[in-house]
């Protein structure tokens, strides 16, 4: 499963970035253990560097991670009956884990042992990557300018994987339109949530239209 290893360089990038802004190594490792969110931890590092307050951090994290709400929604059925494994499966539901879990539809759809193995391995790579990153980051000789592109690259890869699975243009057209509109109309700090909210609204409206014309439900 090659996608799993994606968290190793990404975790390393996080560790390097954390050391760059002066976060101690143990704090970077703790973040990867108890927060465990790719984009969320990069954001947290940026906020720490800017001396943000706790309230600001809470709101920003909630907004950035609000997309997880919909990951959970689409996995309600898959995780039902997971028993004692369920809390960890929910805790470990990152972008990449979600992407892996939803790409294993069919026979393994309700294989909770396999799901928890996958989730735990993903976090193991993430923590090991962070450890490697703080070690690299403590060596002053390495110029880390541009390392933040790792996040952009991750999102591009995840988008392409989603497109390959879905084989529909509709959600991507909606996303492009709302993202560009939000970029043009909203201040930078509200762009992400604004675009996600607008895309959700359009999908809701489209759902209502589909319900009224069930014979055309597949035309989108």
């Amino acid at each position: 499963m090659p996608v799993m290893f994606g968290y190793l360089p990404l975790g390393a990038a996080f560790g390097i970035l954390a050391m760059d802004v002066g976060i101690p190594w143990w704090a970077a490792l703790t973040m990867s253990l108890v927060i465990y969110a790719g984009a969320g931890q990069f954001l947290a590092v940026a906020l720490l560097a800017n001396q943000a307050g706790l309230m600001e951090v809470a709101v920003a994290t909630l907004m950035l991670n609000s997309r997880h709400l919909f990951y959970g929604l689409s996995l309600l059925g898959v995780f039902s009956g997971a028993g004692w494994r369920k809390p960890y499966l929910i805790f470990a539901l990152t972008d990449e884990t979600y992407s892996l879990l939803t790409s294993h539809r069919g026979p393994v759809k309700k294989d909770h042992t396999m799901a928890i193995k996958l989730s735990a391995l993903n976090q193991l790579w993430w923590v090991l990557g962070t450890l490697a990153g703080v070690m690299i980051g403590s060596q002053l000789a390495f110029d880390t300018t541009g390392i933040e592109f790792v996040l952009t690259a991750l999102f591009i890869v995840l988008t392409i994987e989603q497109a390959r699975r879905l084989r529909r243009w509709m959600p991507f057209i909606v996303a492009m339109a709302t993202a560009l509109a939000a970029l043009a109309l909203l201040p930078d700090r509200h762009m992400l949530l604004g675009a996600i909210a607008a895309a959700s609204m359009i999908l809701l409206i489209q759902y209502r239209l589909d319900m009224r014309a069930p014979q055309q439900a597949d035309a989108s």
Binding site: F5, G146, F149, T152, L183
Partner: protein, 115 residues
């Protein structure tokens, strides 16, 4: 501020709680509606839409048409080229690690060597 261990631990706790909240809420609030067609509809189409929005968000510094002219921004050209490398590699090899590492290394090389 980042030197105070107690503040750091509090900061990490807030991030951890806020992150877990977004993950656990659907399971608490909607556990009985898992098969509702609206939930299935959103579960199917929203994540791909959010992914593309995140790409746009991550690349928002590149604004080709701001001020009505071609404007690549500080590292715009490098960002565009690196994004193309990631996309093409992923479409060709289907190897996420390869795409991410190659794209990031080329971006870092471009902005460190040519700027």
């Amino acid at each position: 501020m980042t030197e105070d261990p107690l503040f750091l631990l509090g900061f990490i706790a807030v991030c951890a709680l806020a992150t877990f909240a977004t993950r656990v809420l659907p399971f608490i609030a909607f556990s009985r509606q898992a098969e509702h067609p609206l939930v299935l509809h959103l579960g199917r189409y929203l994540p791909p839409a959010v992914m593309l929005i995140l790409v746009t968000y991550a690349m928002r510094d590149w604004r080709p048409l701001s001020n009505g002219a071609v404007n690549l921004g500080a590292n715009g050209l490098a960002m565009l080229l690196a994004a193309l490398i990631v996309a093409l590699l992923q479409l060709w090899r289907h190897n996420a690690l390869l795409s991410i590492v190659t794209g990031t290394v080329s971006y870092m090389a471009m902005i460190q060597l040519f700027d």
